[in-house]
Amino acid sequence: MDDYKQYLAQKILTEDQVVTYRFLSRALKVHVNTAKEMLYSFHKWQNDKRPGTLHATYIIYGSKSRPVKQDEDVEMTDSQASEAMDAPFSDLVSTYTLSLVSQEQLQGELEPEPEPEPESLSQYSEVVSIHVYSLAPHPLKDLQILTDTARQVLELSTTDSKVCGTIANPNARKRERRGRPIPATNAPQPKIESKPPVKQEAKPSATVAIKEEPKPASKSAAPSAPAKKPTPAASLKRQGSSGISQMFAKAAAKPKKPVAKSIDSPTTPAAASGAEDNRTSGAMSDDGEDDAEPMAEVKHEDGSARQARKDRQADLRRMMEESDEEEEPEKTADSPEDDPMDEESPPPEPEPEPKVEEPAEVVSGTSGGRRRGRRRVIRKKQVMDEKGYLVTMQEPGWESFSEDEAPLLPPKAKQQQQTVKSEPAGKPKKGTAKAAGQGAGQGNIMSFFSKK
């Protein structure tokens, strides 16, 4: 029974921490009310031994007497009374006050002192409940410090809330997520983590000038070097950039399952996924309504597909890492003896996307009528030379894009099996005409904003 005293002594006196009843209840897995009592008894016990070592805060809950409405206060606890009268501006209603006060403020009241503290018991006409909120080794100057402890509670909150005395609600319902034993909230994390490298990779010729320089060098060296050289690198990059979008493409292209009615029942979460499918392919509205959905989509895949995707994803990530490493030598590579190295370095996996010719545009994935990928563009670049003149240079470069699906895509589609798979079956597309107008080289909003 004295375990808690030991725990509290260590936490408060040794580690110099503030302990709230919630923290204690989570830490010791006891009911919050028990925790409140423990705090009280520890406080009393410790301060009897050595007065002034512990400082408590208290919660007082009750109705306060108000100067004007004092007489109503008691009767007004029945909410009916307020119904009867119509005050000109507002009805008077019963007000309960929950206040957090420090020990000093409370004591100021309990001990006979002429001047009552502002937030103390005498302000209350009726106190419904009172308990210890927290214990600290020092008087808390600013009670807001307690928010930090509240954050720690949040981290500890994995324990069963029933033990702690949170009011249970049997009606609470969550969206079912298929085949995810891990908590749903953690699920998206790994995906997001995989994003940053992709991002860096996909960024067309990075904005920093230093990074800009080596690239053209390697590009211009390409013609003289064996023709193969730029291609593996490019295709690697392509795969790299496709990593995340492919996942979406896969998910979006998933065949719809026969849909049952309820989302509540754990057996038919496919309903939700079906519904989301519908929406995703239906319209990509500009208010961002659907953009987030593919994330959820991923979770609805069935086990085998997910496994396959995971494998591929892992492969891709590995490839990306390799290509990352590879890029460093490539950037500095001016001499031909680097080339053999380059030819060796492509991992044995390029089979999934076998192609030798260099396409003007590579689609790495489609999701719900939006194509993502990279394309080759000639970019104009203006630099100031050492004399202060502006020099315009044309440089080839890769640029990632994502746009509405154009009808000229299908012939290209065979380049990538994903594209074929995700080809949405005969859905009406509003943007088709518009997209058709956009040639391969333009039409992407990103190209408009990218550095000239």
Binding site: K44, S90, H131, Q144, L154, P188, R279, D287, F449
Partner: protein, 506 residues
């Protein structure tokens, strides 16, 4: 110390070691209506004029019925009041009555025509200043599709009038071409549905309902007397901010209060009666947002290709809100209305905050495309629905804030009452309250009178009951900002009685 011993829920004692009851929260009967939901693919090509026309045609029949009833036998100076079909039909010197839309001509009111003529294309920031000028320069005019006439007379001083409300006026046109108003009628409260009009009452638990007041008894004499006997908690202006809100502790206490962890077993039992939380706007605070200075914004433009620019956008407020919601959701269902500062569209009706804002809480939202309401229901502002059988109309407060600018008074409840009597919850849209240009329907017209009308983000708490001629009874609640007052409102879902809880520290 004697005082302490009298406190019933005194937990200042040594651990008793007795097992605590497991509390279970009262169920909430909840049917949201999607009256204010906009199409995902919406066009902004339309003109706003249609809204006024729609509003007038929708409200006019009821208004004229009421007006002709009232003024049928009105004879002033041997002259009976004649109905004028249109504003243009008013003859000088004849006593007549006419209905139309009020337009307030105010010098301080923003005017799109002025902006256009002065070549200003950037919308002015929304300020809290009043349009109302005390010097009497503001002109009240009445217009319909035919024309416009200025209203004068002392009678106007007694009523709240704003642009866009539909009224009928009786009077005579004077020599200046102005209408001297003798009397004025509002459409008054629309018909009120019975309790449990849409949803089904839950199976009775054999509770006695003897504590009902007279009003309520009249009101729902044949409605089934069931229900959970719970309470609805309403809060607005939680104001989560990025830089450690000054009321962070109050928010924590609120969380503990709603979770039922604070207080003593008896009080906790009462807390378990709170069956639903309505958050009426401004969950996120704008105040401490740093203005983006030009220089850094320019530098960062090309790095914003994906995601957001962390130098100009702080995700922390929404993360904190998400944590708050996700902590509460396992125990209490939440209806979340957006407000002026929330990440939703600015124009009325504000569309639901997208669940993607809440990575932790989104599992509780309804799947997209499903018709069921989510456990966390992110809804429109204004929002209409049925909670425990009562028709509830809630807004994030912009409608009343905007009306407030038109009038000299501070009586927020009076303005709320006026919107009910006008049968229009946002009359100043689209004039000064930004609104979607509706083409086929003006959703702001109240077809059915709510039982509970709540408006969030108000400067102070207020509540009253208004009654209509048809025995409609509406409970009005002005919900104060939690960040400013620390107050939350509890509404008894059986009686619609109101109480509030104030959370303070210090």
């Amino acid at each position: 110390m004697s005082q302490l011993n009298e406190i019933q829920g005194n937990l200042l004692r040594n651990p008793t070691g007795k097992a605590e009851d497991e509390l279970e929260r009262t169920a909430s009967e909840y049917t949201p209506l999607h009256s204010f939901k906009l199409d995902k693919e919406k066009s902004y090509q339309q003109q706003f004029a249609d809204m006024y026309f729609l509003r007038l045609t929708k409200i006019k029949p009821a208004l004229e019925e009421r007006a002709s009833e009232a003024w049928r036998h009105t004879i002033i100076g041997d002259e009976p009041a004649q109905k004028a079909q249109r504003v243009l039909d008013i003859r000088q010197g004849e006593l007549c009555w006419v209905s139309g839309t009020v337009y307030m001509d105010m010098a301080l009111k923003p005017d799109i025509l002025e902006d256009v003529s002065k070549d200003r294309w950037i919308s002015a920031p929304i300020s809290n200043t009043k349009y109302y000028a005390d010097d009497g320069s503001d002109a009240v005019t009445l217009e319909d599709e035919s024309g416009r006439i200025r209203l004068v007379g002392d009678f106007l001083k007694n009523v709240i009038l704003v642009t866009g409300c539909i009224v009928a006026v009786m009077g005579t046109e004077n020599i200046d071409g102005e209408l001297e108003v003798v009397d004025l009628k509002f459409p008054d409260l629309p018909p009120q549905p019975e309790r449990w009009a849409i949803s089904q009452p839950p199976v009775t638990k054999g509770k006695s309902h003897s504590k009902k007041s007279k009003n309520e008894d009249e009101e729902m004499v044949d409605a089934p007397r069931k229900g959970s006997g719970g309470k609805i908690a309403i809060v607005s202006g939680l104001g989560f901010s990025g830089q450690g809100a000054s009321h962070g502790l109050e928010l924590n206490l609120l969380l503990e209060y709603l979770l039922g962890e604070a207080l003593d077993p008896t009080a906790q039992r009462e807390l378990s009666q709170i069956s639903r939380l309505i958050i009426a706007g401004n969950s996120i605070s704008l105040e401490e947002r740093i203005p983006i200075d030009e220089d850094s914004a320019e530098k960062k433009t090309d790095q914003k290709k994906y995601g957001y620019d962390s130098s100009s956008y702080n995700a922390l407020p929404s993360q904190l809100l998400d944590e708050f919601l996700s902590a509460l959701l396992p125990t209490i269902p939440i209806t979340l209305l957006p407000g002026a500062q929330d990440p939703a569209n600015t124009s009325y009706p504000q569309q639901p905050i997208h669940p993607a804002m809440f990575p932790l809480s989104r599992a509780y939202t309804a799947p997209p495309a499903s018709t069921e309401s989510g456990w966390l229901d992110t809804v429109t502002n204004p929002w209409e629905g049925e909670i425990d059988g009562w028709r509830v109309l809630g807004t994030g407060g912009q409608n009343i804030d905007d009306i407030f600018r038109y009038v000299g008074s501070n009586d927020r409840l009076g303005m709320m009452e006026a919107t009910c009597r006008w049968r229009c919850c946002a009359p100043t849209a689209p004039d000064t309250l930004w609104a979607y240009p509706f083409q086929d329907d003006d959703p702001f017209v109240m077809h059915q009178c709510p039982h509970l009308y709540l408006v969030g983000c108000q400067p102070e708490f207020g509540t009253k009951v208004i009654q209509g001629e048809d025995k409609q009874v509406v409970r009005l609640i002005a919900v104060p900002s939690f960040s400013a007052t620390g107050e939350i409102v509890l509404v008894d879902s059986e009686t619609l009685g109101v109480s509030k809880v104030k959370i303070t520290t210090g």
